[in-house]
Point group: C2
Chain length 123, copies 2
Amino acid sequence: MLEPNFEKGNGLIPAIVQDYDTGEVLMLAYMNREAWLKTLETGKASYWSRSRNSLWIKGETSGHFQTVREIRIDCDEDTVLLKVEQAGAACHTGYRSCFYRKITAGGVEIVGERLVDPEDVYK
Amino acid sequence: MLEPNFEKGNGLIPAIVQDYDTGEVLMLAYMNREAWLKTLETGKASYWSRSRNSLWIKGETSGHFQTVREIRIDCDEDTVLLKVEQAGAACHTGYRSCFYRKITAGGVEIVGERLVDPEDVYK
């Protein structure tokens, strides 16, 4: 199986996460080789947390797992695109997508949909 | 205007590029502050080339410019999502999207659409 090039990014590649059905871009996270293999093995998206320096199974705290339906790899083989079925909200703020704000001339405008109160999820 | 946090990525942020009309993810590139400001000023996507170490106006060689219709910023303010009108092909290989290959158990399967022969574009 083709494996991404983890060397270029010092062991990490960005993973773009897109809703399989709607095409909405949900988030971007990083994977090391361990997270990549874990994702392939389990079918649930796993990442490498740069802030916590640890493997992170998306949804393990919140229950908002991402079931991977398709994986694309880019021309340079240093970025992957995961098409997923998202349970609940992708964003830790409770919005469906992390990209819930549009940049405008005056600042930002909230355009995303808040699904859950993060205080109910991360206790 | 809200500005991305360039510090976390040593001066660079990833920019996900999505087709404004179809929602197809076209590519991922990196921006420094100069590329960010250039994009805002011109309305055409500009990036920072990590391999050439220079500002890169997407389309300046190929003519395949990206007209930015909307910019989203993520919860952590360290990733942006550009929704663009893509002229021609986003990928230097001639495919519309850089994510033209799907990873399968057996290897990869080409699922993207090749629009142009790169030899005709990059002479």
